[in-house]
Each structure stands twice: as structure tokens, then as C-alpha cells.
């Protein structure tokens, strides 16, 4: 239960940082100007008390706090770019396997020692990296860090443990198809990013996980656990000196390696629209399509976030509130090294609903929204920005994304200012430029949808 909450909080950070604004209304409100005079400037900064330095080859971002909490997120860079269809999910499997024992804490001793600390270690695979995270408090830091570091440096990786973990992961991934929502998410990525690293599942597939061998895992640990592939973000009540010593004597002893972080390529494998229909006997139909955006550091990204939120609000207003064709409809924005946006709906009348979604998208592309009417939306982004940064874990993730996607953790502070600078013309332009060639996955009754409708986006 505790573990689940920990992982959930990590994932929540990832999801929230993707910039989704749920239940958003269209912004052309008659009262739009009312908020303009209100203070809407962040009064606290996610980068305050934050420094960046290198320790024994490990890049570290440290946000010093005074609340007795300690969060360490180690970003192992590369994500699915390091994988092939045959090895997808290997890194997450390796990190899970380290929970089965280490040199200092063999077998069961590790789990017991970890339980005594009351702390939590979690693994979150992602297309751009894998997070190996630690949550603890000041008085437990030494003991928890000792386990955390030993799992990275000296895992046992025994054959029996490998078989146990692999079987469990294969079984779990097989169950992904049991839930129509989870299946949809998986299929949509596979279709939208076919041939691109983002088309690979970071947790792997039944096929990949079944074929991965212990020897591959051991080799990956030996060759890929290198400091050049690491970004450590620490938010916590610890001095820099102590943190440096902790890193130097543990992660810093790993080989340097030659990894260089860079964004994956854009658009090489995307010839246009595509559709995958997955028949399922269920009461409704789930639809999700993705379009590809620019790299995360591109100046169009703030406008794309705003455009996605506006489209989300318009679809919600028209399709849910006025037409009542769905419970859930939204436009998504996904914050990865190469950004993307999505159109999502569940409905029993897919043809009608898709036609309305298409109309809303076209209207975004055809008509310019007055810039002043964007203000309420920006205010909601501001609220969301603060909400997203309530926790140490979320702050760590925000800093990491700024550092990796925008080249400098201090770019996190520009988030709101960049959104404020977006104009109605910007929104129209990016809607035209990026919101096209949508590649859809559909889970439900294929006879209820015209395939060409899905191809028309």
C-alpha cells in the first residue's frame, strides 16, 4: 500500500507535468478581463535555494529545503532510445531485480532492512529515462541511502531472482490488454510512433520481456550504469557537503562512460495519418490519437500547451456539456523530449463525436482567438503550476525536465512567463502547424466507426 502511493505520487508528477488541463472550458468568456488585474505572478520559485554541480562525474541538481524530507530522483537517461523491440523493458526489469538482493543486503535481508527504514524506493520507466527514486526523512537518510546505493552498485542479480522477476513482469504486461483503457494507451503509442523510440513500451512487451536473458541484464548493468547517463535531482533537508560526500562514495564510483544526452529525432517515421482498430465487446468505444509536436525546447511549445488546453475546453463544452455524447473528452499535451498532443474520447457514437472533434480542431485552425481571452486560461495554468509543485517529488521532476528538455533547470521559472507571452495568433499558427496527421487507436466496436473519419484529422 505504501509502495503504491509512492509510485502513484511519482507518476502523478509525470502526468501532471504533461500539462493536461481537465474539464477546461472555452476561454472566450464574457468576463475574461476580470482576472487581468489580479496578482498572477509566482511568489515562490521552484528554483529557489537550488544549485547544480557535478560530483565524480554525476550531474546533480540540489534544492535545499528545511522540512526534514529527502527525495532523490536518479534519472537514467536514454529511455526507449537504448532499447530495441527485443529489449524493451530491460532497464526497468534490472532495477526491479535489484530489489531481490545486493552484496551488502543479500536476499530477504534487503527487504527487511528497507522495511526498518520506513522509506520507499521506486522505479518509473519513461520513454526518455528511467527514474530510480528514493523517499525518506532526515533521520533515516543514512540507512535508506545505503540500501538505495547498494541496489545500484552491487545488485546480486541471481538466476533464480531473475526468473522470478521476469515471470512476474511478463505476467503483468500480459494483463495490460485486460483493461481497454490501458490497451488503448499502449496501442496509441505503438501506432503514432511506429518505428520511433517512442513507439516502444518503456515497460516492455510480453515478447521482449520473455526473450530477455539474465546475461543481457548483467551486461546492461555493467555497461549502462555509467555516470554520464545520470542526472541526480535531490530535494531535501541535506547540506551540499553531505550530499556530495554521499554521491562521491556511492554512485560516483561507477564508471564515467561516454553517454551524451540528446533529444530523439523528429518526424522521420511519420508519413501521415494512420488507424488501428482493436475489436472489443464493451459498452463503449475508446479512441486516442496523437500528433507530433516540436522538440521540448522549441519556442512554439508554450503556445502548443495553450492551444491544447483551449481545444480541450472547446471539445468538453461542445461534446460533453452541450451534446452529451461522452463523459470523457480531452485534448492532451505530452511533455517529452519531442512533444506531442493527443485527442481522446470514449463514446457510444464515435462517428458523430469524431466529426464534432474535427470541427473544433478546424475552428482552432481557421479562426484567431483574441489574446485577451487567453487570460483566464493562463490563470488556471498558474494554479496548476503551483498545484503541481506542492511536493518535493514534483519539484524534483519539474527541475529535471527543465534541465533535460530546456537545457537549464532555471528554465522552470520561465514556465508561467512563457505562457503569458502566448498570443491568439500563436495559438492559431501552432494549431495549423502541428495538430494534423493524427494517428489513432480505437478499442471497441469497429462497425460503429467510419475508418476514414479517423483518417481525416
Amino acid at each position: 500500500m505504501n509502495r503504491s502511493l509512492f509510485i502513484a505520487s511519482l507518476s502523478a508528477a509525470l502526468v501532471l507535468q504533461a500539462g493536461r488541463v481537465d474539464a477546461q472550458k472555452p476561454v472566450e468568456s464574457s468576463n475574461a478581463g476580470q482576472v487581468s488585474a489580479r496578482a498572477a505572478t509566482p511568489t515562490s520559485s521552484v528554483t529557489s535555494n537550488t544549485t547544480r554541480f557535478e560530483v565524480a562525474g554525476v550531474r546533480v541538481i540540489h534544492r535545499k529545503t528545511e522540512n526534514n524530507l529527502f527525495v532523490a530522483n536518479l534519472y537514467l537517461l536514454g529511455g526507449t532510445r537504448l532499447a530495441t523491440p527485443e529489449t524493451a523493458g530491460l532497464e526497468a526489469m534490472l532495477l526491479d531485480l535489484t530489489d531481490r538482493g545486493t552484496q551488502k543486503y543479500p536476499g530477504e535481508q534487503l527487504r527487511r532492512a528497507m522495511a526498518r527504514t520506513g522509506s520507499e524506493i521506486g522505479v518509473i520507466p519513461h520513454e526518455d529515462w528511467t527514474v530510480f527514486g528514493l523517499r525518506t526523512t532526515g533521520e533515516r537518510l543514512d540507512s535508506a541511502w545505503s540500501i538505495y546505493a547498494d541496489r545500484l552498485l552491487h545488485p546480486t542479480l541471481s538466476a533464480a531472482d531473475f526468473a522470478f522477476v521476469r515471470d512476474n513482469r511478463v505476467s503483468a504486461v500480459r494483463q495490460r490488454v485486460d483493461s481497454p483503457e490501458a490497451l488503448l494507451e499502449y496501442l496509441a503509442d505503438s501506432v503514432a510512433f511506429a518505428g520511433h523510440p517512442y513507439g516502444l513500451s518503456a515497460v516492455g512487451t510480453e515478447r521482449s520481456l520473455s526473450s530477455i536473458t539474465r546475461e543481457q541484464v548483467v551486461a546492461f548493468h555493467r555497461e549502462q550504469l555509467v555516470t554520464s547517463r545520470m542526472l541526480l535531482v535531490v530535494v531535501g533537508d541535506v547540506t551540499r557537503e553531505r550530499l556530495e560526500a554521499m554521491v562521491r562514495s556511492s554512485i560516483g564510483t561507477l564508471p564515467r562512460g561516454t553517454y551524451t544526452w540528446s533529444a530523439p529525432s523528429v518526424g522521420e517515421t511519420r508519413p501521415g495519418s494512420a488507424v488501428h482498430l482493436e475489436p472489443r465487446r464493451i459498452p463503449t468505444n475508446y479512441i486516442l490519437g496523437w500528433w507530433e509536436g516540436p522538440p521540448a525546447d522549441h519556442p512554439d511549445v508554450p503556445a502548443l500547451r495553450v492551444a491544447s488546453a483551449i481545444l480541450s475546453g472547446r471539445m468538453f463544452g461542445e461534446i460533453r456539456s452541450r451534446r452529451n455524447l461522452t463523459y470523457a473528452v480531452e485534448a492532451r499535451f505530452r511533455d517529452r523530449a519531442i512533444t506531442s498532443g493527443g485527442l481522446y474520447v470514449s463514446t457510444t457514437r464515435p462517428d458523430t463525436t469524431l466529426a464534432l472533434m474535427r470541427t473544433e480542431l478546424r475552428n482552432m485552425q481557421l479562426y484567431t482567438i483574441p489574446t485577451k481571452s487567453l487570460r483566464p486560461l493562463i490563470q488556471q495554468f498558474l494554479t496548476e503550476y503551483f498545484l503541481d509543485n506542492e511536493t518535493s517529488g514534483a519539484q524534483a521532476d519539474f527541475l529535471a525536465r527543465a534541465e533535460l528538455y530546456r537545457g537549464d533547470y532555471r528554465a522552470a521559472d520561465r514556465f508561467v512567463a512563457d505562457l503569458r507571452a502566448v498570443t491568439g495568433e500563436d495559438v492559431q499558427r501552432v494549431a495549423r502547424q502541428y495538430m494534423k496527421s493524427v494517428r489513432f487507436a480505437y478499442v471497441g466496436n469497429p462497425s460503429q466507426v467510419n475508418r476514414f473519419r479517423l483518417m481525416s484529422f
Partner: protein, 477 residues
């Protein structure tokens, strides 16, 4: 706008969990004990409460993290107030809250106002509460509270809006029903709760939702939406004195109503007459098992609720003997024990996943291990100490999120009262192995239960499994 799972989702497999949260979002409060805890003394330093003249309880939980505040209105409504002819209408009412009202008479005006405030808002219906909440930058708290107040006191329940919104709720029902777990949950629920089923069934009944009338909405409002059945919680970067004054200004003249539970008492939950087995087949790959018992009711058997949470926490520890015997042995891919605290009988659930070929042995060993929890020395002091350490860490992290803190306080206020929440951690720390065993003897071992199994299509026949056999595994009754 959303219904929370009756029992929280089964998340028995670590990877299964990981996939679930990575793709579907964050599991909510129903996870159980861990999100709500803190030491009483520390809580009392921060949480302030006052009851207005009209009976509205106002709870302020200030924190100085980021300059936002969450304003939450909690009403003791929800599934438990639903006779069969109202099954699902507490939730539909919650949807109608965001429709036209006297202050914002046009359908879109209400939501437009939320946008103007920069508010992120939502609502939740659960078994024993309905909550409405919004988060705003802290200089907009007054606007946010007036926004909620307008909906609370001026809802119109226009027939045209109700007719449209019920279609949205039916769409939510379609989604719930699309989950392979829906039928398992529902079939078990009907057996577990008998005539009380409509009072546990938050999503409700399709036919009831379809035939809803504005009059039914008004009945719910008049009965339950009164200040003496509600609480206002404001959590975040706020000044308590200013918030109490604001609450008085905005909601102090909300007229007190009759006690809803004197007018419409909640009947007793009927006992489970006998062990039952349930088999459902779906298009799934894994075998899911869900075994449920009637657990304690929070205000009637408070001590047992604390023991229940510690019992669950210890068995769920990766290093526990329970996990060793069941999961490390390879019989189960994962097993989770949970008690869901409610005032009208909270369910105890053991859920897990296994394979068709291991199912029988997995069930036999599971029940044997549950019985073993009564043996002397089963619960070790070290395990209880580990749980304390874990709660200390979890509590410290839980306090970071003021917005979640509002939901946590709201949940406990509605289900069993704020006092329970304040004492929770201290009471948990007092639990002894004897307390845990007393709880297990009182509610689990040899007690009637429902065993539900969800199998891949065709597996029932291939295994030659019957519901009678399932009911018999686990012994007595």
C-alpha cells in the same frame, strides 16, 4: 464528477500497479490508511475548527508551501443514503451541482466563472460522502467560496440540463462497465451487501439514472444539503482567522435544516448468510481473486478499525511472512489485504492474481496463511516497528500536499468524524499482536465471506471449477 471505486482497485502486482498508474492516473484516497496519518499533537497545532451557528463545521488546515488554497465542501451524502429507487442519484446530483444556478443562470456561466477565477475544480462521490472542491491562487479564496456557495444554495435542476447530464453519467457508467472488473465487483457486491446493496453502489443503477426527475434532485438537496450535515475545509496558504470570518460571511446565513438521518435513517447492514463462491469469465489473461468479509463499522467498533489497518499493513509488507508464503513462493503474482474504513460496515478485501493452474492451491494456501495469523508469535515486534517507521515517513510526505490534505480531512470528517483522524496515528502505534489477532478472529477467520474469481473465458470448464467448490475453500460456514 467522478465515482471512486468501491474497494479501491486491486493492485496486487507491482508491475501491474506501475502500468496502471503510469497510464491511467493516480489512485485515490481509497487506498486506505496511509495517506491520512499524522500525530495528534502536530495536527492540532495546524488544524483549526469551528462550528458556525447554523451547524456548518469549518476546518482550516494552513500550510506554507505554495501560494494556493483548496476549498472543499463535504456533505454526508453518497451511496449510503440511497434506497434502491435512488441508486446512483447521489452521484448524478453531484454532476448537477455544476449546472445553472440562481447566480449563474445560463448553462455555461457557472463554469465560465470558474475559469475566471483560475480555479481547477472537481467533485467526488463515494459511499459515505460527496465532496466538491476547487483550488485557486490564495488571493481568490473568497471568489472560490462564493462560487461554491452559489451552486450549493441556488441550484435549479433544470429539466433540460438534467436530461442532458444523465446521458453524461450514463457515459461514465459505460466506461465503468467496460472494465473487466466491473462485473466481478458488482456480482460480489450484491452478495456481500444483500438488501443494503444500493447503499454501497455509488455508480448506481442504469434504470434509476435513466428515469431521474428534477424532483428527486430537490429531495436530495432538501434532505442532505444542509449546513448541519456539511463541512467546509480550506487547506493551503491561508490565514485561519480570515478564513473563519469569510466562512461566516458567505455561509453563515445558510439555513439550518432538520437532521437528515432522523428523517431518513440508514438501515442496518444485513449479515452475510453463508459463504458464497462467484465465478465470472471475461476477456482477460490473468485470474483475479477477490475475497471479501464484513469488517468493522468505524463509530461502533473503532478499536477494530485501527487493528484492521495495522493487520493489513503488516501482511502487505514485502518482507512479511504472508508475502513470503504467497508471492515469493510463486503461487500468487501479488496479494493485497485491505480494510476500507466506513461507518456502515467497511469491507475487508483480500485480492490477488494468479494463474488458472495455480488457482486451487493458491486459495488453499492463502486461507491457511490467514488462519496462521492467529498463531502465537505470528506478528513480530520488528514488523510493528517497521510499520511505525513507514507511517512516519508517509505522514511526513502526505503533509506536503495541502490539496490532498483537504480531501483526507473531508473523508474522515464525513465517515467517522475529525476526532478519529486526529487520533489515528497514536492509536495505530498502540496496536499489539494480540489486538491484530483479536481483529482477525472477530472479522476474518471462520467468518462468512464471498469468494469471487474472474477467469479467462473457457477456464471455468477447463478447470472444472464450481462456485460451490469456491465457497468451500477456506473452511467454516
Amino acid at each position: 464528477m467522478r465515482v471512486i471505486n468501491r474497494y479501491g482497485r486491486r493492485l496486487a502486482s507491482g508491475l501491474g500497479l506501475l502500468i496502471a498508474v503510469a497510464t491511467l492516473g493516480t489512485p485515490a484516497l481509497a487506498q486506505g490508511a496511509t495517506a491520512r496519518a499524522t500525530h495528534r499533537a502536530e495536527l492540532e497545532r495546524t488544524i483549526q475548527r469551528r462550528v458556525l451557528g447554523n451547524g456548518l463545521e469549518v476546518i482550516i488546515a494552513p500550510s506554507r508551501g505554495v501560494p494556493i488554497a483548496t476549498v472543499e465542501l463535504v456533505v454526508k451524502n453518497g451511496a449510503f443514503t440511497q434506497p434502491p429507487e435512488y441508486a446512483g442519484l447521489a452521484h448524478l446530483f453531484e454532476h448537477m451541482f455544476f449546472k445553472a444556478n440562481e447566480s449563474y443562470p445560463e448553462p455555461d456561466a457557472f463554469v465560465d466563472r470558474a475559469a475566471d477565477l483560475g480555479a481547477l475544480f472537481n467533485a467526488t462521490t463515494r459511499e459515505e460522502l460527496v465532496s466538491y472542491y476547487l483550488t485557486v491562487v490564495n488571493d481568490s479564496v473568497e471568489g472560490g467560496l462564493r462560487f461554491l456557495s452559489a451552486a450549493l444554495r441556488g441550484a435549479q435542476f433544470r429539466a433540460d440540463e438534467l436530461a442532458r447530464e444523465k446521458e453524461v453519467v450514463l457515459g461514465e457508467y459505460d466506461r465503468a462497465e467496460s472494465s473487466p472488473w466491473f462485473r466481478l465487483d458488482e456480482t460480489i457486491g450484491r452478495q456481500l451487501w444483500g438488501s443494503f446493496w444500493s447503499r454501497k453502489n455509488t455508480i448506481g443503477d442504469r434504470s434509476v439514472i435513466r428515469s431521474v426527475t428534477p424532483e428527486q434532485m430537490r429531495t436530495i438537496r432538501d434532505l442532505y444539503y444542509v449546513p448541519n450535515n456539511s463541512a467546509l475545509i480550506i487547506a493551503g496558504d491561508v490565514d485561519p482567522a480570515a478564513m473563519f470570518a469569510l466562512a461566516e460571511r458567505v455561509l453563515g446565513d445558510w439555513p439550518r435544516g432538520a437532521d437528515p438521518f432522523a428523517r431518513s435513517p440508514v438501515p442496518a447492514v444485513p449479515p452475510i448468510p453463508a459463504n458464497r463462491g462467484i465465478i465470472v469469465e471475461e476477456d482477460v489473461n490473468a485470474v483475479t481473486v477477490q475475497i471479501q468479509w464484513h469488517g468493522p463499522s468505524a463509530s461502533r467498533d473503532e478499536a477494530a478499525t485501527f487493528a484492521a489497518d495495522v493487520y493489513s499493513d503488516v501482511l502487505n509488507q514485502p518482507a512479511s511472512r504472508f508475502q513470503e508464503k504467497l508471492v515469493e513462493s510463486g503461487l500468487w503474482q501479488g496479494v493485497v489485504v485491505n480494510y476500507y474504513t466506513l461507518n456502515h460496515v467497511g469491507p475487508i478485501t483480500v485480492s490477488g492474481q494468479t494463474t488458472p493452474e495455480r488457482l486451487r492451491e493458491a486459495l488453499v494456501v492463502l486461507h491457511a496463511e490467514l488462519r496462521a495469523t492467529l498463531e502465537p508469535g505470528y506478528f513480530k515486534e520488528e514488523e510493528l516497528e517497521s510499520m511505525k517507521a513507514n507511517r512516519a515517513v508517509t505522514t511526513a510526505f502526505g503533509q506536503e500536499r495541502a490539496s490532498e490534505n483537504a480531501h483526507t480531512i473531508g473523508f474522515w470528517w464525513s465517515v467517522v468524524g475529525l476526532e478519529y483522524h486526529l487520533r489515528y496515528i497514536d492509536e495505530m502505534a498502540k496496536q499489539t499482536p494480540a489486538d491484530l489477532q483479536h481483529y482477525a478472529r472477530q472479522f476474518i477467520i471462520g467468518r462468512p465471506h464471498i469468494t469471487g474469481v474472474m477467469l479467462p473465458r473457457g477456464a471455468t470448464r477447463a478447470l472444472n471449477l464450481t462456485e460451490a467448490e469456491l465457497a468451500g475453500i477456506g473452511g467454516a460456514r
